[in-house]
Subunit: 258 residues, 4 copies
């Protein structure tokens, strides 16, 4: 992608840490904020990182969005997984270019999008979602983030089984992951990685029990917490309020049965 | 890569959470552990995830290593960045297939390896390292992990400048990141991401000051902490001892100057 | 104190975790809440822990307040120290019945109140506060919590010196604790404990430097973080939002100089 | 207690953060360390905070121990509660001079000691312990710390009932706290506080369920985590390794039943 904005391109208009807007460069359109409006025409020909001034004289910076910028701006019908948790999942599953991944439930498509971005160009995400309206919203989100071609969305209840076999990873973000453990085992190739995200300790307990019964090995449960540091010379300190908990990530690997 | 082990393949021999060994399948070689030796001949033809039994009758599982398995087993001359921090860096920089990244210092090559794995096949890592013996060790590690072809290792002191321009990301893990901020600004494309990892608050303060002076925007400092949950039905609890701190990650984006 | 409420007694009206009100039992008075009003007459003769019903039929529990209930309901002109931090301070200083403690700045008197409560009946708190309106508010708060008799409030700038000698503990919660280190040394008895609470890392650095220069020993800096667990059978999880940081506690002991 | 050491007094010999020894001043006795021996005679007449030099010329500081110094040096037959958790318990229960507290199990007597220290002079701790050898060790520890007179140790299984009534607080550190909830309810005065410490989430769930059934109100579960900051000018950072988890503290108050 070129660094110069053209008509139709996405642009992240950055004002400050809390105010950033994802819009499309569109001729003849204005984008209104509490700090004045921006004439979207003006962005054509600007480079990523250039400044633009609103009708009230407030400076915004026009940025090419990253994949995380996209997911944080997705229209959501469900809670999405946080970048901190997705980053850990990427590392512990080994998902990368070429990986084949089964994912459920797709929800708003945030995890799907990041995974799709990372398996490019030869990998593939098989995304299961039982709720039709979630699926349609996710489809639009995946198109917004330009990763739809790496994803096969499936309107199917994953508790009834997984169609794919020999996949590298099964990644779950759903209410009853323990009910999918056998299906995941069947779908994974030997040594493949099971990953599951759950908010409660009870979900973790049931899932880990099921993994142990099924014969998975290297079962590990991790909580990832991030805390921002407010940096100002001579007044540096951690932030006062932080996210206390999103969920636990469970990882395990498939060993063949004796 | 096939799921069947051939002569010359890497295999992770998994015994339990703390004991896992990265070896090469080699005819006529034995691998000795405290739980008996494994005849490496026996692994030829086995699939990833299959079990193998040591001379003392102890069962190991033979696994195809993931990229994180490789870095955790690298011969090290330096402290390496933890997977939790690398995962966060991946997410906040938007590094993915095709990204062009300047990295310094390479150290033992752990971050380099994961970044190279994720920019495949069309991206490139430009790895700066001033210490020759680190560079040679890193080169071997990158070869071990099969990512050397995506990396250009440079025996150069990055404080004297960066050769590349228009890069997507500059990722630093060195003692004085603030001295590189101007060079990073010059090397980055507009909207490109600066990332730096530092253990101390003082390094963070100086780097953030330099970023603010240089005109970077969206400067954010994050600490990532992971805590494992020890899951056993009816006795589930967080682990007693954990890593308290590795370092802070600073992220910022390049805006063009007025 | 008897467990039966009399006219003039304090009562904590508990509705739920977030709604609790500290009022005085007063004949002929009503206390109005969003869930109806409570006739304060009705509380006379009730025991602590008894239920009372508002005009809208909502049940409140009438409780004898603990010392922490008092401080959390103090009218505040300043930020107060959290119970978690006060608890740690109590433990690391050894403050208990009979202790003599210099404290500054008094602020809203929350720490003063808890310390006074714990040095009863024979100990004493010497509370320094330079700002007159803080001092007057604190005086009222100490009377509200029935601990004023154990406290000597001093309208004095502690940076000009400490009047007392041979005290067990000097406890500081002010912007520039490093300026008090010499005074604290002079005021403390041998082996006495210096304690200081500061939000920023920079304050901690300067204070610890001053302590090391002054010849204090056993210097330790601790951050105390609490996270609540949301307990519900089958859905137990840490809370989503938590306090990320209040401040650091520094402790040190006075050794006599060589 | 005077600040001058006499024969028979306890002294904490401080070398550095990790090496501190609790000994008795005894004529004609030497105390041997890896850094030389100290002639305990020499301490007679020294003030708390004075330095003493070992036979190898290494300087120790002689300190009057605080109550926490005592408990950290207790001979232990059981895991003891950490000061951070005891401090939180003190704050959330309102235990202070005059409080009457039921405690079980006594274990090594660490919590008992701190509570006894804080209820002086008019309060009382009723300490239940079913294991006789624990009780005898605890008795010695309470004598060592000079708080035995405020404690009534009871060789009794608290699951069979609590003898006391109208107590201010019931504080539990045992494997099955949910089995004591009814007894605690019976023993507490109205508005009195139940407190319990448990390492596992499952213990917490069962105890909270029992508290809700019994009609306790204001039930809250808190985890307290401390992390030390390693302070050195220009190199300040949190410590690398920390305690990840000790246990959860549950608090609740007794409301009278309808």
């Amino acid at each position: 992608m070129s660094d110069v904005f053209n008509e139709g391109d996405d642009v992240l208009l950055y004002l400050d840490a809390k105010r950033r807007y994802l819009v499309k460069v569109t001729k003849g359109r204005e984008f209104h904020t509490h700090r004045g409006f921006i004439n979207l025409d003006d962005l054509v020909g600007k480079r990523s990182g250039e400044r633009t001034v609103s009708s009230l004289g407030v400076e915004f910076v026009a940025l090419k969005p990253t994949v995380v910028d996209y997911i944080l701006k997705f229209p959501r019908l469900t809670q999405i997984m946080y970048p901190k948790d997705i980053g850990l999942l990427l590392m512990y599953t080994g998902i990368g270019p070429g990986s084949r991944v089964v994912e459920a439930g797709v929800g708003s498509g945030a995890l799907t999008t990041v995974l799709a971005y990372h398996v490019k160009p030869s990998g593939r995400i098989y995304g299961y979602e039982v709720e039709e309206r979630f699926l349609e919203n996710a489809r639009k989100n995946l198109m917004r983030a330009y990763v739809i071609e790496y994803v096969e969305l499936k309107h199917k209840d994953i508790t009834t089984g997984i169609d794919e076999t020999d996949v590298d990873v099964v990644a779950l973000d759903l209410a009853t992951p323990w009910t999918i453990v056998s299906h995941a085992y069947a779908a994974l190739k030997g040594g493949g990685v099971f990953a599951s995200f759950s908010p409660t300790v009870n979900q973790v307990e049931r899932t880990v029990e099921a993994l142990n019964v099924e014969g998975f090995i290297d079962v590990e449960t991790i909580e990832c917490i991030t805390r921002n540091l407010k940096v100002k010379s001579g007044e540096t300190r951690p932030v006062t309020v932080m996210i206390g908990h999103t969920g636990y990530l469970i990882f395990a690997r498939k060993a063949w049965k004796r």
